[in-house]
Each structure stands twice: as structure tokens, then as C-alpha cells.
């Protein structure tokens, strides 16, 4: 039953959940986020109305995805953009390689793109002999560590300044420093050189505006703007679900993304790109390529029950509030998209049976659905994934156990008859094996005490009460 993915997840989750230093670091950071997020939400005249409006607009986009994608592509092409369509990750990687080869690319600068992580772009480019430099500070840091991003918005959230200082000292030869500003300036100096010399810039995108044929990129650092300004060739990779119908819709999505994702009223730079350098413009890439990626999104689209997951604007709010994420961290998920959204879509994108454990590792508390700015019914989708997984491939012993419980649960008199044995066993025998290898409920008792069976059950107390009342 346990796949290697689920075994690794359980082991990693257990290790990180018990790491008190990690717990304090991550939860401390996220508590600060909650404070600023709440003040941004309160500034909205109608946050719930905004969620409705955002959900409606994204639903419209998804429900008419074919039309909007065609509009998007044709508007871009009218301005000289080359639009490519990639069915799978390997298709997308090949498109990149073809462009890079044709352009004789020597130096590549890249800004943050979760879709690029999804298709393992950097590895493919490096294998083909290209060197790719991540320009987003957090991504740059995890790239130096040969790690994947820890969080979809804050890639290096799991590291302390001391760890980053040692990293820079080791890889860049810089002097160790405890000061985050100094550390940032070290990275800034290294990367400025790359901006000016890179011949190819690769970006992701947060939104794809159908009406005007533009990709919209949100960031705080300015590295994506530089990636889109200076290199001669610009390539943007994005999932097909990023569509929003109208340019004016961004007036809603940009502040909601900033509020939910980072607790900011608006992110530092929100930039829309509609083509390569146009006649009369003094800079910008000579060639602009946009790669539209499917890679399983049409499969999600086909599941009418879970189609709303394609509304996701990748803000990270669900990660921030998820108690599972807050205790196991982003890496334990073992896949590109972590947190609740990752737990919902990964079984669809990468295989239900291999990844159902992510949908199972949840208490279904619903904090994610509550936080989602586009009202995706995340926690109910986790339930649906579980149902689908067990319907197609039930776990034999588990199904049997639930059948047995079902048989017993409708025979309360039998349960009543068994209660004294339960009490006896708990009082006289359980203490011997409690918490150890032979304890049948070790999964509980390893860390927690069990409640005692009450001397009289509610049913017994109820009957006694009724008898006393009748006697009166």
C-alpha cells in the first residue's frame, strides 16, 4: 500500500515535525505574516465580495479556456511574439532547448517560475550545457544549496541568516556577516553583472490577460523586470490556467495576490508584457517567446468536481495557514507544489495512487479553503481524492476493518456487551504494552495517553436516569 513516495513523505514529515527549531522559525515567520495579512484584509471594503468576484472571473476564464487562450495567443502574435504550446513537461523543455540553440545562447538569467520547477527546467538546461542563474534572491540561495524551493512564494524561508552567510562565504568567497542587508547586497552585486551580460532571460508569469494579450509578472525585488528588460531574447513559461479575461481584472487580482500571499497591499513590481520591443521603443528583447504549458492541467479541467482548482493564482495563502505545512515544511511534500493546493492537484498531475498520501495527510480543518482568495474548495477536494483513490484501489485490510466496524456499529447491544472486556483490558493489560512495539494502539500511545473507558457508558447512565424517573 505504501508507495516509496508515501514512505519518504512520512519519514521526512516525522523528522521535520519533531524539529522544534524549525517549528519556531517557520511558525514565527507565519505568525508575523498573519498580522500584516489581517491588516490588509481589513483595509478592503469587502474582502468576501472581492473573493466572490475573483472566483467568478477565474471560473469564467476556466469555463471558456479554449476561447480565451486563442484570444491571448493571437493578440500576442499580432505584436510579434512567438507563442508555443507544450502538451507535457518534456515538450516544454524541448521548446526551450530549440530556442536556446537557435539563438546560440551563452548566458541565461532567470526569474522565479514555479512552472519551471514543475518541468525541472534548470536540470535539463544544465544537462545540455547551459548555465542558468536564478535572479530572485530566495531562488538564488536555494540554487546555491542545490535545493528545491521551500515555499512557492518564499523559497528560502527555512534558512537563517547565519546559514545564508555561511553559504555565501563558501560559494562566493564573501566575508561572513550577520546582517540581512549586507547579505542582500552581496547577492545584488553578483547578479547585476549577470543582468547586463545575459543574452537570454527566462521568466514565469502570474497572470495571462486574454483581452490584450499580455503576461503579468508580480515581484518585489525587480529581478524579473531586469530579466525582461536587458537580454535580447525573453522566454516566458506559464500554465494554461493563468488566464484572466480582461486587463481591468488585474485591478482585483494584483492586490488580492499581494494580500493573501504576503500581507502587502500591493507587491513592489507588477509588470505586463505584451510583445518584444515595439517600433519606437528604445529597449526590450528583440524576440519574445511565450510557452503555454498543459502538463496535466487539461486532466484537472476534465474533473468537473475539482475544476475550480485551476482558479489557483499561486499566492501561497493556503500553505501559510495549513497546520500540516506549518509543521512539516515545504520540502517534506517531495514535489513542486506543496501545502493544500499541492496535496489536491499532485495526485491529478502525477498519479492518484502514487500521491494520494498527500491528500490523506490532512485533518481536513478547512483553514485552506477559508484563506483561498479565489474560493477553491480545497479541503473537500482532499476528501474527494481519498474517495477516488479508495474506489479505484481500496486497501484490502482497511476496507475490511471499516466493514467490520460498520457491522459492529449498528449492533450497539453487542458493543455494550464487549465494553467490560475493553475496560478490563485497558485497566489490567494495556499498561504493560503501552507505547511499545506490542501495543496495538501504539500510533496513539507513543506520544499521547488514551482516555479511559468510563465506568458507565452514556447509554447506561441514560437508562439509569430513565428508571429513576419512572420510579418517581
Amino acid at each position: 500500500m505504501a508507495t516509496e513516495f508515501s514512505q519518504k513523505f512520512k519519514a521526512d514529515a516525522k523528522r521535520v515535525a519533531g524539529d522544534l527549531r524549525h517549528r519556531e522559525l517557520i511558525q514565527g515567520a507565519l505568525r508575523k505574516y498573519e498580522v500584516v495579512r489581517d491588516s490588509c484584509k481589513e483595509a478592503f471594503q469587502d474582502w468576501q465580495g472581492a473573493r466572490e468576484g475573483a472566483a467568478e472571473r477565474k471560473s469564467d476564464a476556466i469555463d471558456h479556456l479554449d476561447t480565451y487562450l486563442e484570444e491571448f495567443a493571437s493578440k500576442l502574435e499580432a505584436r510579434g511574439t512567438k507563442v508555443h504550446w507544450a502538451g507535457t513537461g518534456p515538450d516544454a523543455r524541448q521548446i526551450f532547448l530549440d530556442i536556446l540553440k537557435e539563438k546560440g545562447a551563452r548566458s541565461i538569467i532567470k526569474s522565479k517560475a514555479m512552472t519551471a520547477e514543475e518541468i525541472h527546467l534548470n536540470e535539463a538546461l544544465e544537462k545540455a550545457g547551459y548555465s542558468v542563474v536564478e535572479s530572485d534572491l530566495g531562488e538564488y540561495i536555494v540554487q546555491l544549496r542545490h535545493e528545491t524551493p521551500y515555499h512557492i512564494v518564499f523559497p528560502a524561508m527555512h534558512l537563517t541568516r547565519g546559514e545564508i552567510s555561511s553559504l555565501f562565504a563558501e560559494k562566493l568567497g564573501s566575508a561572513p556577516t550577520d546582517n540581512p542587508e549586507d547579505l542582500t547586497m552581496i547577492a545584488r552585486a553578483v547578479l547585476r553583472e549577470k543582468y547586463v551580460t545575459a543574452d537570454v532571460g527566462i521568466t514565469g508569469a502570474n497572470f495571462a490577460v486574454a483581452e490584450t494579450g499580455m503576461v503579468s509578472i508580480t515581484e518585489n525585488e525587480g529581478n524579473a523586470r531586469l530579466t525582461a528588460a536587458l537580454p535580447r531574447t525573453m522566454i516566458t513559461l506559464l500554465g494554461i490556467e493563468k488566464i484572466v479575461p480582461k486587463l481591468g481584472d488585474l485591478a482585483l487580482f494584483l492586490p488580492m495576490l499581494a494580500t493573501a500571499g504576503a500581507g502587502q497591499a500591493l507587491t513592489g513590481y507588477n509588470s505586463m508584457y505584451g510583445g518584444p520591443r515595439q517600433p519606437g521603443e528604445c529597449d526590450g528583447p528583440e524576440e519574445f517567446h511565450v510557452i503555454l504549458l498543459d502538463n496535466g492541467r487539461t486532466a484537472l479541467l476534465a474533473d468537473a468536481e475539482q475544476r475550480d482548482t485551476l482558479r489557483c493564482i499561486r499566492c501561497g495563502a493556503c500553505l501559510n495557514v495549513c497546520p500540516i505545512y506549518r509543521n512539516v515544511g515545504g520540502h517534506a511534500y517531495g514535489t513542486t507544489y506543496s501545502g493544500p493546493i499541492g496535496s489536491v492537484i499532485t495526485p491529478h498531475l502525477r498519479g492518484l495512487q502514487d500521491w494520494k498520501h498527500l491528500s490523506q495527510a490532512s485533518s481536513l480543518c478547512g483553514a485552506c479553503s477559508e484563506a483561498c482568495p479565489v474560493k477553491i474548495d480545497l479541503h473537500h477536494h482532499l476528501l474527494q481524492n481519498r474517495r477516488n483513490a479508495m474506489a479505484s484501489k481500496p486497501v484490502r485490510w482497511e476496507k475490511l476493518a471499516f466493514r467490520a466496524f460498520g457491522w459492529l456499529a449498528v449492533r450497539p447491544r453487542l458493543l455494550e456487551a464487549l465494553m467490560p472486556f475493553g475496560r478490563f483490558g485497558q485497566k489490567w493489560f494495556h499498561w504493560i504494552v503501552k507505547g511499545g512495539r506490542l501495543d496495538p494502539v501504539r500510533v496513539w500511545t507513543e506520544t499521547r495517553e488514551l482516555p479511559a473507558f468510563a465506568p458507565s457508558s452514556f447509554t447506561q447512565l441514560w437508562r439509569a436516569k430513565k428508571r429513576a424517573e419512572a420510579a418517581r
Binding site: A43, R188, L252, G268, D283, D294
Partner: protein
Amino acid sequence: MNAEKQKILRRIREALGVHTVHTVHKVHPQGDIASWLPKVGPAFEAWAELFAKNSVQLKTSFHLVESEAAAARLLAETARAEGWQRLAAHGNGPARAIVTTLGLPSLWTDGGYDARELERCDAGITECDALVAQTGSVLVTSKSAGGRALSVLPPHHVVLARREQLVADLPAAFALLERKYRDAYPSFIGFITGPSRTGDIERILVLGAHGPKKLTIVCW
């Protein structure tokens, strides 16, 4: 490429359960967005106050002055205080007029420029399309602000704006873009909200990650 496009579109149509191409889209009233977003006052005074308040919070240096001449004087003081040696700017409007008065070696991005030379400039001075009170943002495009890099590469970005350019909120800003550029959008449109920043190290705010460490807005 086209074959892949058709395959993807076909998968989408099958997934949505339709076999014909949609031609009608649901039209959303745009007016409601403004009613959900944070409240903004009714006119210039309220907008200027809100923009100023936001600027303080964002660590943007915002100055409302009486005239273009006053703006030029302010820039001259800044140039002295910061020890500017080389500037970059654009166009044939107020930016060129004011920067010329400063008498410093200047790079003009119109018509093209060398990226290394731009990188060596102490400040990039641009005009803009609008200032947005609701968020404290500057709206620029590659047409109004001398290209894509001028407003982001030099370590100090100075924006020259007119009072009439101050708008209430984001919906108003997008409406302005549509009116101004509808049939010929510039290839780059940008909302700039404060200097460059990062929270990637322990979520501690640091300014000047890659883009400008300083943002100054002079409005008359």
C-alpha cells in the same frame, strides 16, 4: 507547433464537454471592483494625502511642489546631497528640461543605449502615466518612461509627475491605460510600488534587492 496547439485546444474542449468554439463570454461589471478594494476619498486633496501616507509606509520619497522650477530645484539639491555624477533620462518633455538644468553627464535612452553605461548611472529620471493614491504606486510604460530598464536599473529612480496624473485607485489606473493606449499598447506596462525590496532572508525587509534602493517622486 500548430499541431500541439490544436491538440491542447481539443483536450480543453473535450474536458469542458463542448465540441464547438464558444463565442460569447460572460461580461463582468468592472464597477464592483472599486467597491471591494480599500476606500479612497473623492478628490485630489484626499488622494494626495493617501498617496503621501502610503509613500511613508513604502519608504518612497514623495514631494508635492508648486512648479516645474521647484521640482528642478529639489532635484538639484538631491543631486548635491547624494553626490550624483552621471544621470540617465529620456524624452523631450519635463524630464529632459529638468535634467538638462542639472548640468551633469547624462545618458538619454531614446533611440537605444548601452546597458553597461546605464548600469553606471547614479539615478534614472523618468516621467510616468499616473500616480495611484490607493496603493502609492507609479504607473509607467516603455513609452512614458524611457523604455524598460531606465526605471529599474539605476540605484535611484526619480519620477516626475503632474498633479493631473494622480488617480484614485487601481481600477482608475487600468481605465486610464485603456483610454490612452487601447490600440497600441506599449510592450511593457509597470506598476511600481516603493523601492525594490526583499523579505527572503528570515522575512526581514531589505531595500534595494535588485531594483532601485531609492524611489523619489516629485509632483507639481
